[in-house]
Amino acid sequence: MGNYEIALVLGMAAGFFCRLLLLRSDYRRYPGYPHGYVTHLSLAAVASLIGALAPLALIKREYTAVTFLALAAQQFREIRDMERKTLGQLEQNELVKRGQDYIEGIARVFEARNYLVMFTSSGSSLATYYLGWKIGLAVMVLFILISNRLKRGRFVRDIAEVVPVDFGFKGAHLEIDGVVIMNVGLAEAREKLKREALAVKLKPIDDDGRAILHDAGQRQAILHTVAAVIGSKREIGEPEWTPLARKNIDTGEILLFILPNEKDLECLIEAVKMTPVLESAVNRPLKSRIGRAAAD
C-alpha cells in the first residue's frame, strides 16, 4: 500500500472513530435507538471519507474535488433539518417540553459534529501523507482530543449558584421569595404540593449569567432536564403538577418549582447544575462598555 492509500484509510478511520466517541447517549435519550446510531455513523463515514479525500485530491491537483466539499456542507445542513424535525415531532407529546431553543441547539450540535469529523480526517490524512503513519496516528489522537474539548459547552453550574429555597401558599397563591409562581385553586392540590414539592433558587453569578437565565428557552431547557433526570409527577390533564421557573424581576434570580417523583433536594440541585447553557441563550452584556456600566 502506498502513502496515498495509507493516508486515505487512516484519515477515514480517524473521522469515524472521532464520531463514535462523540456519539454518546446520555440522559437526553437521544439518539437512543440502534437506528439512530446507524444513521449518524453512516453519515460520519461519508463525512470522514470526504474529509480524508479532499486534501489528498488537492495534492494531486484534482481541483474539481473541492466542489464535493460544497456538496458535503449542503448534506450536513440537511442533518440539522432532520434532527430538528424529528425532535420537533416528538415534542408534541412531551409533558415537560424541551422547547424550541433546546431542539435548535441539539440540531446544531449534530451538524457541527460532522464538521469536526471532517477536520479530524483531513488533518490525519494530510499528516500521514507527508510525515508517515506514526505522525498521522498522533495527529489523529490530537484532533480527537480537540474535538472532544470543542463539544463541551458551558453548564448552568458555570453561570449560576443553585440553592434550596422555601415555598409557601398565601391563600391560593404559591409564592417563593415573594414571587408568585402560580395560583392553585384546588385545596387538595395545595396540600399535596406543600408535602411533596421542591423549590430551588438560581442566583446568577454576574450580569452575563442573568441575561442567560432571562431567556425563556433556557429556563424551559432546565425544566426539561430536571424532569428527565429526577422525574416529575406531571400528568396528562393535571396541570397543577407542571414544573415552573419564574424570574424575580428585581434581582434576576430564577425560582424553580417542581413536584418530583422522589423528594430529593440534592439530586434536584445537581440536575439543575448539569443543564447545558444553550447557544441561543448566550448573551454577553458585560462585553460591551454600556453593559458593564449598567451592571454596577
Binding site: 391563600g171 391560593a172 395560583n183 392553585v184 385553586g185 384546588l186 385545596a187 387538595e188 396528562i236 390533564g237 393535571e238 396541570p239 397543577e240 407542571t242
Partner: protein, 57 residues
C-alpha cells in the same frame, strides 16, 4: 373555560363562560376537581367565592 361560584357570590360572575353554582366552598372544591379533570383545565381561586377554570396550553 368555566366559572364556579358559591351561592352567595353568584352575582359576581357573568359573561361568556358557563357558570356553575355551588352550595358552599366545599362543594365548590369538589366541582372544581371534577371539572378540571373533565376539561383538562386548571382551577384558579380568586378568593372571593369565584373560581375560574383555565386551560393553559
Amino acid at each position: 373555560m368555566a366559572v364556579i361560584v358559591t351561592e352567595e357570590s353568584k352575582h359576581k360572575a357573568g359573561g361568556g363562560a358557563p357558570i356553575f353554582v355551588a352550595r358552599d366552598a366545599a362543594e365548590q372544591q369538589e366541582l372544581a376537581l371534577y371539572l378540571t379533570r373533565i376539561l383538562n383545565a386548571m382551577a384558579h381561586d380568586l378568593e372571593n367565592g369565584v373560581m375560574v377554570l383555565v386551560r393553559h396550553s
